[in-house]
Subunit: 404 residues, 2 copies
């Protein structure tokens, strides 16, 4: 296996650090628009080489993939670059993995009730070509989407006879010393996720838009009690890939995603939207043009550089309700917690990016060994969950299960 | 009288529209960095001519003032340009007026308890030179500071034998159709005023820093009931020139300024500060450098262009407490209200900028007729209030008085 890692930012660098301890691959080409950043992430292992790439250009990605005889392209950049990397991988004859899917566009008339272009629609529109050429695009294989989708498959296969709701719930008790406000994940992506109309899927609505519908941002607030000492966090509906992926492979009545943003973060996002500072279209300021959202990101500290000042744990998981294998009502939370103190001590990467990067490394190992195989544009729930969950333990970061 | 108006933005254009109806001057040179904007504001009257000027350059201001044989330089731009215009006017031998004073810098160690460089300190440091050359800098002669300071002098001369507090209170019930958030005044200036440490003056503390001290932003919230149907608005301490000016010429025990921001605006300002988006120092974004505060301003609609969508009234005033001329306790609010519907119908300018621009026109008329005269760096309270307040009525916009 020869991997082209596109993006040496927070998640890309953590991916390199995790993969460096495994022996399932021959080479990782660490590529970034900023060659210096790629070189830094590639320095830790002799099987790594650095390269420059323009992720906004399918030609640039394909040329590099061909030059390095790459078998798998691993996308680790902002979701706005999904399509050029996805198409570049296909053009170069490589398989493809990502941790976020092609972007949505709201319904032009009814943005807060009907779907327009959904997350991943652009990628799924090319599924036949991938399938017919026998090639695999494994989409949404970070932690969320990713591990959450693996949990969904596991719950359906091993825990439940009928599922009422697959509800991804994400929360943390992270704090950052020395900053009034310091998000622990890319603010660009967080704005994109949280201000787009949240997506919900219900089987009973399958006759309209396939069962997918949208709501107002931050809808259906709910306090979820997270495990391992994190405790209760207010969660709200957010647009996320799980809601697109799970209904395609797992039987359920309803699929949701709620993010434990907390009241302060919700207020910040609402204010950014109110002032138009969430916009990506450039505005003219003096003699130059800039995207307001890029300015917001530039004003905040780099989340990947905050590890030393962070405290607490982050939890990703899936709350499943329905009927157990024994025919009785069941409510189970399958989860994965990472303590920032542990990930910093073990890997030198903060827990949120480390937890995201862990899962594609595990998946690539399963693909390298042939445990997982397939063709087409497939989500994590298209594969057997058990070997994946077992490998998490071997990587030193086991998952958990709590009956509610 | 030959006036150089520096700045043809919202307030400058309203100044031109108000002055056009009066006959006390020979010429107004309307100057702006953007010549087209100056030409537009100068088009209404044959005594007006347009010119280009760089308000950040004292040389540019002085050259234009000399070329046009200007007697009075009227500063109508953002307060960051006070010093070059002030110095340019002096260099050209002209008198000077402004509506906001030179900017403050917080105390380096104790920003929220002690003053550093106060509003206007830079201007007052040159007072002797102005006085010795027999020239007048009439500072802070907008509505607040400006009319509020005239009220202070009137209260001391005609209403009170002893003043406990001179408390400027500003509030409105303005709404703007079609925008989730649209400030009715320059957001750049509002951020500057509201996020700097608020200033308070107390005679009993005169032995430390001359009686001036600072607090945390948004301190001492108070609900003030504004007249003419505006009603109760939550007001908080804000840094403002009145607190610098009034104690120099009017006897009082305490001087404060509270701005009726309302809870939503306070939250927006706090969030901007939390994210570092209030900063004026440039940040690098992609290949360009911009000031985050300028980006915030660029994302919001131009307040001067919102008049047609605005509804409601704005009120500026001074709440005076103490002992009346009859020896009995007295609490009086002296105020000036402008209804946006009236200012739009009469002048085509929205009420907030119109109300600001009205007062320097009145002051210039008093200087032109010799009713007001003086030398040095003087606030509005250094002059007799009665002719000023009488002229307001003649301009069609009388003031009011309410016993509390």
């Amino acid at each position: 296996m020869r991997i082209l890692l596109v993006g040496a930012g927070g998640v890309g660098a953590a991916f390199a650090a995790i993969a460096a301890r495994r022996d399932f691959f021959e080479q990782v080409v660490v590529a970034d628009y900023d060659l210096g950043r790629a070189e830094k992430a590639a320095a830790s292992d002799e099987r790594f080489v650095a390269a420059q790439v323009d992720a906004s250009s399918a030609e640039s990605v394909a040329a590099l993939a061909r030059e390095r005889a790459v078998t798998h392209v691993m996308n680790a950049v902002d979701p706005r670059f999904v399509m050029p990397i996805f198409e570049g991988a296909f053009a170069a004859g490589a398989d493809y993995l990502d941790m976020a899917m092609s972007l949505s566009r709201p319904h032009p008339e009814a943005p807060y009730s009907r779907t327009g272009v959904k997350l991943g629609d652009e990628q799924f529109s090319q599924a036949t070509a991938w399938e017919e050429s026998g090639r695999l695009a494994l989409v949404g294989i970070g932690v969320e989407p990713g591990l959450s989708d693996v949990f969904a498959r596991y719950a359906a296969d091993h825990l439940f006879s009928e599922i009422d709701e697959l509800g991804t719930r994400d929360g943390s008790n992270l704090t950052v010393d020395g900053y009034e406000f310091a998000p622990s994940f890319s603010i660009w992506t967080t704005i994109e996720e949280c201000l787009n109309p949240p997506l919900v899927w219900e089987r009973s609505r399958a006759d309209v838009d396939g069962g997918w519908y949208t709501t107002e941002p931050f809808s259906e607030p709910e306090t979820f009690d997270f495990p391992d000492g994190i405790g209760p966090v207010e969660c709200v509906n957010v647009e996320h890939e799980e809601v697109v992926l799970m209904p395609r492979w797992v039987e359920a009545k309803r699929v949701t995603f709620k993010y434990g943003l907390g009241a302060e973060f919700v207020d910040v996002l609402k204010t950014l939207h109110k002032l138009g500072l969430d916009r990506t279209e450039k505005v003219r300021v003096g003699g130059v043009e800039v995207s307001p959202r890029d300015v917001v990101a530039a004003c905040l500290p780099d989340p990947a550089a905050l590890g030393d000042r962070m405290h607490g744990k982050t939890c990703a998981g899936l709350w499943v309700t329905g009927t157990g294998k024994d025919g009785r009502p069941r409510s189970t939370y399958l989860y994965h917690v990472v303590d920032n103190a542990w990930s910093m001590a073990e890997y030198g990467h903060q827990c949120v990016v480390w937890q995201t990067a862990l899962n594609p490394v595990v998946a690539l190992e399963l693909l390298a060994t042939g445990t997982w195989s397939g063709a087409g544009v497939l989500g994590p729930e298209a594969f057997d969950a058990v070997p994946f969950l077992d490998l998490l333990g071997e990587y030193g970061s086991p998952w958990g299960l709590r009956e509610q």
